[in-house]
């Protein structure tokens, strides 16, 4: 069977797992094209207008797959970590798609919940496998293979600071060269923490190539995806109340950990228009940074109308501040 995976939302987190899993069950995996103008337009037209940008983009990716696959994989993702959620829209994603997109092929929408269930991922994989006509045993074997490879991929990613960002038409998973190969150690001018949901910061089109642009300015990019989980948890412990959104927790956990323990020159927070969790997480972050730390902070709100020029201007202004601070520091040290 040809199974379509939309190159959007949690694609940036779980694609390696799903790809290996489906292929080892003998299916073919088809990715939607990297986000482009048409995908965005299709998404905007088919989604209720007050939905957030990433959900609209996701709709566009599903439409992109319609005539090329036998089934689209749109799991109902309730929870990927114990006691946490992603967001209400993930809970209702298959429902939204079914009711807004016409001419859909079959949809595989099995539930994934690790809310109260450590083996939730395995059970999810087995349900998916069975739905595709595989036996429990086959599915289990595929799960074990996929999860061991996925785990080593994640380790590799963290160890090498390898960001899950697509290269051209290739998925991030197929690109093996480390991102930083062209920079020598010590050639970075600043350490910048880029915080945001993976589907915002790694989607080149939606993020207007933010990461590449920052790298070209000489920034070493740090994101939650390359920070060890234990550090994120340590950072998140500083919150007054457990944050029940996994992606928000990754953002605040990373920030709170890094600000206290690592050398950091600036923070970029990428939110998307219409995002519920971002509105609160961003507020907490911004207040904390401005109250307790004197770090340059850039807030970017991605929306479908944003022009690239204004975006670039703001980015340059931010980098200017970083530059000035860098010079200021070296002056201090050379005189002191």
């Amino acid at each position: 069977m040809r199974i379509g995976i939309p190159r959007a939302l949690l694609y940036y987190n779980y694609y390696p797992f799903w790809k290996i899993f489906f292929e080892s069950l003998g299916h073919e995996v088809v990715l939607s094209s990297p986000t482009n103008k048409k995908i965005l337009k299709d998404g905007l037209e088919s989604t209720v207008d007050d939905a957030c940008l990433p959900v609209k983009v996701f709709h566009g990716h599903v439409i992109d797959l319609i005539n090329t696959v036998d089934a689209v994989f749109i799991p109902r993702i309730i929870s990927v970590e114990s006691g946490e959620f992603i967001c209400p829209k993930f809970l209702g994603l298959p429902d939204m798609i079914r009711n807004s997109v016409a001419g859909l092929p079959r949809i595989i929408d099995c539930e994934l919940s690790l809310y109260r269930n450590k083996t939730g991922f395995m059970e999810h994989a087995i349900r998916v496998g069975r739905l595709l006509g595989n036996s429990t045993q086959e599915a289990l074997r595929a799960y074990l293979l996929a999860s061991s490879k996925y785990n080593s991929y994640k380790k590799f990613r963290v160890k090498n600071g390898r960001l899950p960002i697509d290269e051209g038409d290739k998925s991030f998973f197929e690109v093996t060269a480390p991102d930083y190969s062209k920079y020598k150690d010590g050639s970075f001018k600043f350490n910048v923490l880029v915080l945001g949901h993976p589907y915002n910061i790694y989607d080149r089109y939606v993020s207007m190539n933010l990461i590449k642009k920052l790298q070209d300015f000489g920034a070493k990019i740090i994101t939650p995806e390359i920070i060890p989980e234990r550090n994120i948890s340590a950072g998140a412990k500083k919150l007054n109340k457990k944050l029940f959104w996994t992606l928000g927790k990754n953002i605040l956990g990373s920030a709170y950990y890094y600000m206290d323990n690592c050398k950091l020159d600036g923070i970029v927070h990428v939110a998307s228009f219409g995002c519920g969790p971002d509105s609160l997480v961003g507020e907490l972050l911004e207040r904390k940074v401005s109250r307790d730390y004197s770090l340059p902070f850039l807030y970017l709100n991605l929306d479908e109308h944003a022009g690239e020029e204004g975006f670039n201007t703001r980015l340059e202004a931010f980098v200017d501040i970083l530059e000035r601070r860098r010079c200021g520091e070296s002056n201090v040290s050379s005189h002191g």
Partner: protein
């Protein structure tokens, strides 16, 4: 200690009764107003959902009046409500207010936790005293819901416009003042009598509209631009999908006290939204189906701008409305919504469903022949 809490419809009446009967001084924020909204909008994150902003307005107004303790409901997700308190505390702190915030997280297995927090607020009154105070508050909440239902049934057929609302306003005061369950019974009797005396216009045939959507916007008239009253004036009898007693049951009481019908109603949403999506998203859809089955003429769906669960609901509404042939109008509310603008849309909607209803009854007469 002077306790305050955010407004949500008439909830302030039972809450005030509850705390006062435990000897706690209460500062009720002034009723939600334009000023509340302005304060809230000014100090809250731009893209936060509207209830958070209005809460902030309530808090600021109450803190200015001398309140020093905020009691706020909490939550464990997936929706933003569960994290409101954290953001609100930071905002108020940065504004320089000194206060203590007590967050009542839903007692899913932590009912004792709730009781402990209440004991702390109320200066270690006994559990018995708490439950006694709770009883009167609960009786008031029940009566308030009954009052709301009565008023919205009579409003569309009253002969003299405004009569129902005058009685309603007076009733709120009486309920608020009542000091015992005994007294409350008397108040209830009186309200029933006065409501029964309202002169009705026999020529007015009300249409029936159900009100569904995000909980807070359904319950707080200021935020929904007094949609119930407006619809009443346009000749529509309105039934809400949620009343305050249900909110209290859902958010503050242990799950064994929750009504059982709930699960069955939710089943109606399954063809469209198969599982819980936070807040009342799934409920909204289930209620639309239910209203359609019960012969309602239309439904109004309310949500604050960017409300996540209701956006999921909204995207399935066109199918639901088509399949169950019931007109549904969605009203997205934010700080820029204005009563006048919405009025025109409501008028058009009521006209539409009235027309539909007449066509239907024509059909029935014809086929009857």
């Amino acid at each position: 200690m002077k306790v305050t809490f955010p407004h949500m419809g008439n909830l302030y009446i039972p809450v005030k009764t509850f705390f006062e009967n435990l000897g706690v001084e209460v500062i009720v924020p002034p009723p939600c107003s334009k000023k509340t909204l302005e304060l809230g909008v000014k100090y809250s994150p731009e893209f936060a959902c509207l209830p958070l902003k209005i809460n902030i307005g309530n808090f600021i107004e109450a803190l200015e009046m001398g309140a020093d303790t905020i009691v706020m409901a909490g939550g464990i997700g997936p929706c933003r409500f569960g994290y409101y308190s954290e953001v609100q505390r930071e905002i108020l702190r940065d504004l320089g207010y000194k206060f203590n915030m007590i967050v009542l997280d839903p007692p899913q297995g932590h009912f004792m936790d709730l009781v402990k927090k209440l004991l702390a607020i109320t200066n270690k009154k006994s559990f018995r005293q708490i439950s006694l105070a709770g009883r009167l508050a609960w009786a008031k909440a029940l009566l308030l819901d009954e009052l709301d239902k009565m008023a919205s049934a009579i409003r569309p057929v009253e002969l003299n416009r405004g009569e129902t609302d005058a009685i309603y306003k007076n009733a709120l005061e009486q309920i608020s003042k009542a000091e015992s369950e005994q007294e409350l019974l008397g108040v209830r009797r009186e309200i029933l009598e006065r409501m029964a005396e309202i002169k009705k216009d026999p020529d007015k045939l009300p249409v029936k509209i159900g009100l569904v959507g995000e909980i807070y916007t359904v319950l707080e008239p200021f935020v929904n631009l007094f949609v119930e009253r407006q619809l009443g004036e346009l000749g529509a009898a309105v039934e809400r999908s949620i009343y305050i007693t249900e909110w209290v049951r859902e958010n503050l009481l242990p799950s064994f006290l929750k009504p059982k019908e709930h699960g069955q109603v939710l089943k109606l949403a399954e063809p469209y939204i198969r599982c819980f999506v936070g807040g009342h998203g799934q409920e909204s859809i289930a209620q639309i189906v239910k209203y359609s089955r019960e012969g309602f003429d239309g439904v109004i769906h309310l949500l604050p701008f960017t409300c996540m669960p209701e956006i999921v609901a909204k995207s399935t509404i066109p199918s639901v409305a088509r399949i169950h042939s019931i007109p549904v109008m969605t009203l997205v509310l934010d700080e820029h919504s204005a009563e006048a603008g919405v009025r025109t849309r409501l008028e058009a909607f009521v006209d539409l469903i009235r027309q539909k209803k007449e066509e239907k009854s024509c059909d029935r007469v014809l086929s009857g022949n």
